[in-house]
């Protein structure tokens, strides 16, 4: 008998502590993204909610085009458009209660605005004004997060803290397909599942991380499949179907609120515009692909459903467009005013009390400004 044969005869029993925690099947996402619009399920959807989603989508699209225009006028340093992804943005905002928290990425300005933030305050980061132009506690919207996926553990910690305090609060954290490759994505999902924190993770899979397509980002069957490894359900949804995104997120939020723990939702969508106004998308994708996705536009999908069912007439469509136009005009006008910044604020919020070193530097700047004023007279 060879050594290998001897080894083959050895049958170790599993270590005593090891046992599968759950049947993984309920955690697995469906093979196809969940859809509502254009299916029989749409008849069961609340018409009031669908109309509200529609109005918000129209307003959101207008917000995106207006903000993009402002970059061309130099009023915004940069704008990462979410055109084509408005269904995810709007559903993420509308699915939350006032007491809940939203944790947006840098592309999710629209979700923050849909949650009630002043459109100008939501843009201060992108125009080079103060990084966060709003008090996060006022609308329970965390600062727009520029590093990738680092806001996800914040959402987990906040939701965990709320539950420790006995508060009925859910956190919804948004991230892109590229962000799902970051270490913080893994750590956040793992913490959330171990702590059974009331968190919903929404991955907007828009096809590209700047220029890198999903196939070069991950070898997973889908991003929703990643949930299974953490012991939480993964859900796959058509990210351009506002009714479907809302329904899936609402179920995940309900589950979290009832103590069921976190859910990972992957919304399959597409970034119709370039990564930002500074990006040349023609270098990494063809017009035909973009055109295919334009045919699957979230506004057109919902408009078709609502008009076909007699839930939306021309007047209502016009009213939604008018409201969006009013918002855009107001945004344009206010963004065209130069913000007034106080240089002394540079030192005001580094620490609760400025250190002696910062006081010295503050005095130096004050003297420099006084000299400037003197010179101007």
């Amino acid at each position: 008998m060879t050594v290998m044969e001897q080894r083959g005869a050895y049958r170790p029993s599993p270590p005593p502590a090891w046992q599968p925690r759950t049947d993984p099947a309920p955690l697995l996402p469906d093979a196809e993204p969940y859809r509502v619009l254009g299916t029989e399920t749409a008849a069961k959807a609340d018409p009031g909610l669908l109309r509200r989603l529609y109005a918000e989508l129209v307003r959101g699209r207008r917000y995106n085009t207006q903000a993009t225009a402002l970059t061309k006028q130099g009023r915004l340093a940069v704008y990462p458009s979410s055109t084509g992804q408005e269904a995810c943005e709007v559903a993420a905002a509308l699915v939350l209660e006032d007491r809940d928290w939203l944790f947006p990425s840098y592309r999710d300005t629209l979700a923050a605005v849909a949650r009630g933030l002043d459109p100008v305050q939501a843009l201060t980061l992108l125009r080079g004004d103060w990084h966060t132009g709003y008090d996060p506690r006022e609308h329970r919207v965390a600062p727009l997060c520029t590093p990738l996926a680092t806001q996800l553990p914040h959402a987990v910690g906040l939701a965990h803290a709320a539950r420790l305090k006995g508060d009925d609060v859910v956190a919804l954290a948004m991230v892109g397909d590229g962000g799902s490759s970051e270490g913080d994505f893994h750590e956040a999902l793992n913490f959330a599942a171990v702590w059974q924190a009331p968190v919903v993770f929404l991955v907007q899979n828009n096809g590209f991380a700047i220029s890198v397509p999903l196939a070069k980002q991950t070898a997973a069957p889908s991003l929703a499949h990643k949930a299974v490894g953490y012991g939480m359900p993964g859900r796959l949804v058509d990210g351009n179907d506002a009714a479907a995104v809302h329904e899936v997120l609402a179920a995940a939020v309900r589950r979290a609120r009832e103590g069921g723990g976190p859910t990972l939702v992957e919304a399959i969508t597409y970034r119709v515009e370039a990564h930002t106004n500074a990006d040349d998308a023609t270098r990494y994708r063809g017009d035909a692909e973009v055109e295919t996705w334009r045919q699957h536009d979230p506004i057109a999908l919902l408009e078709h459903e609502l008009t076909t069912r007699g839930l939306l007439d021309d007047d209502a469509i016009q009213a939604a467009r008018d409201a969006a136009e009013t918002m855009a005009a107001d945004l344009r006008e206010r963004m065209n005013q130069d913000p007034e910044l106080d240089p002394m604020d540079l030192f005001a919020h580094v620490y609760a009390e400025p250190t002696p070193q910062l006081r010295e530097q503050q005095a130096q700047l004050r003297a420099e400004l006084a000299a400037e004023q003197e010179g101007a007279h």
């Binding site: 103060w130 990084h131 966060t132 008090d135 996060p136 506690r137 965390a142 600062p143 590093p147 680092t150 996800l152 553990p153 914040h154 959402a155 987990v156 910690g157 906040l158 939701a159 965990h160 803290a161 709320a162 420790l164 305090k165 956190a171 270490g183 913080d184 750590e187 956040a188 793992n190 913490f191 171990v194 604020d345 005001a348 919020h349 580094v350 620490y351 609760a352 250190t355 002696p356 070193q357």
Partner: protein
């Protein structure tokens, strides 16, 4: 007047007591990290906290430093005061993005609306025979990040007082714990711990006239030993314990250097780009006309932390400090 019964206590015990008292006084204080619960920490600094306050207040987390600090950010956003343990100096590196991109900046980016009262406990430094990644002195990284306070005690009483102050601070504090002083004993009253020590004040540990040794954390006892030994050479050395690297106590340091006219900065971390360069520059800028000699640095070598069998050659010891003091051109006095 009541007499205070002083007993020998270790720095580790004082740190534990500081967390226990802070948790008892304030229900929003939460201790978290790998092994801090049932085990009481690998150095037993969190011993008994989970038992006394429950696992929700002293939590064993998954093994993931970015996750530990990242979730602490969210907890602080919701009004808690997390005290995070990083277990060993070099284990904190995965958490650097959270520390630098969020912990240090959240107050600033929200214009004061969202301060983060987080204490990050980092056992640091060498001299305990630790294998690689268990002996780094990373204070220069923390000092270079605006928005963080950086504190390091050298005595049992300061360990208690400074940790209480760190936990009570509305700003994030990187609390560097000198590992090799964990078991150093001091006379201390564990029944009536000393008052909270305000962050940002240096202290003169030993008065002298010949030169000032500027130091902190694990190098404080080494400098005190060097000062004793220096008496044989006729040198009377003053020892300043910084206690706080950010904010920096220019006043105490410069008052000392102006008295002595000579200064040596002593620390374990590497000299190039290290804290000593900043401190020497500050002293020179403020005390140039009082200086009789250039400000010297006695630091660790500019090498990755060496294996334990060689660390005694790397760490600044009494002889190297005395040699530097000797190089301060004493003959110029005569």
């Amino acid at each position: 007047m009541t007499t205070v019964a002083l007993k020998p206590a270790t720095m580790a015990q004082a740190l534990t007591r500081a967390m226990r008292d802070a948790m008892a006084a304030d229900p929003t204080v939460h201790v978290m990290g790998e092994d801090v619960g049932t085990l009481g920490g690998v150095f037993r600094v969190t011993d008994g906290l989970a038992k006394e306050f429950g696992e929700d207040r002293c939590t064993d987390t998954p093994l993931a430093e970015a996750g530990i600090l990242g979730t602490a950010v969210g907890m602080a956003m919701y009004g808690l005061r997390p005290v995070v343990e990083m277990q060993f100096d070099a284990f904190a590196y995965p958490a650097f993005e959270q520390l630098i991109s969020h912990v240090a900046r959240m107050r600033n980016r929200t214009r004061g609306a969202m301060p983060l009262p987080i204490t990050v406990r980092v056992p640091y430094g060498g001299g305990i025979g630790g294998v690689e990644h268990h002996s780094d002195s990373s204070e220069a990284y923390y000092m270079a990040t605006p928005g963080l306070h950086v504190v390091t005690p050298a005595t049992v009483a300061d360990a208690y007082g400074l940790l209480r102050a760190a936990i009570a601070s509305d700003d994030p504090v990187v609390f560097l714990e000198p590992k090799r002083l964990y078991w150093s004993k001091d006379s201390w009253n564990p029944d009536r711990p000393t008052d909270v020590e305000p962050i940002g004040r240096a202290v003169v540990r030993r008065s002298g006239r010949s030169a000032t040794l500027i130091t902190y954390g694990p190098s404080v006892p080494v400098c005190l030993e060097a000062a004793e030994a220096a008496q044989a050479e006729g040198w009377d050395l003053e020892v300043v314990d910084l206690r706080s690297l950010v904010p920096f106590d220019d006043e105490t340091v410069c008052a000392s250097v102006r008295r002595t006219g000579r200064a040596v900065v002593v620390h374990e971390s590497g000299g190039y780009g290290g804290p000593g360069g900043e401190i020497a520059a500050r002293v020179t800028e403020r005390c140039f006309h009082h200086l009789e000699a250039p400000v010297l640095r006695v630091a660790g070598f500019d090498i990755p932390y060496p294996p334990p069998m060689l660390e005694r050659h790397h760490l600044p010891g009494v002889d190297r400090i005395l040699d530097a003091v000797g190089r301060l051109q004493w003959e110029a006095e005569g």
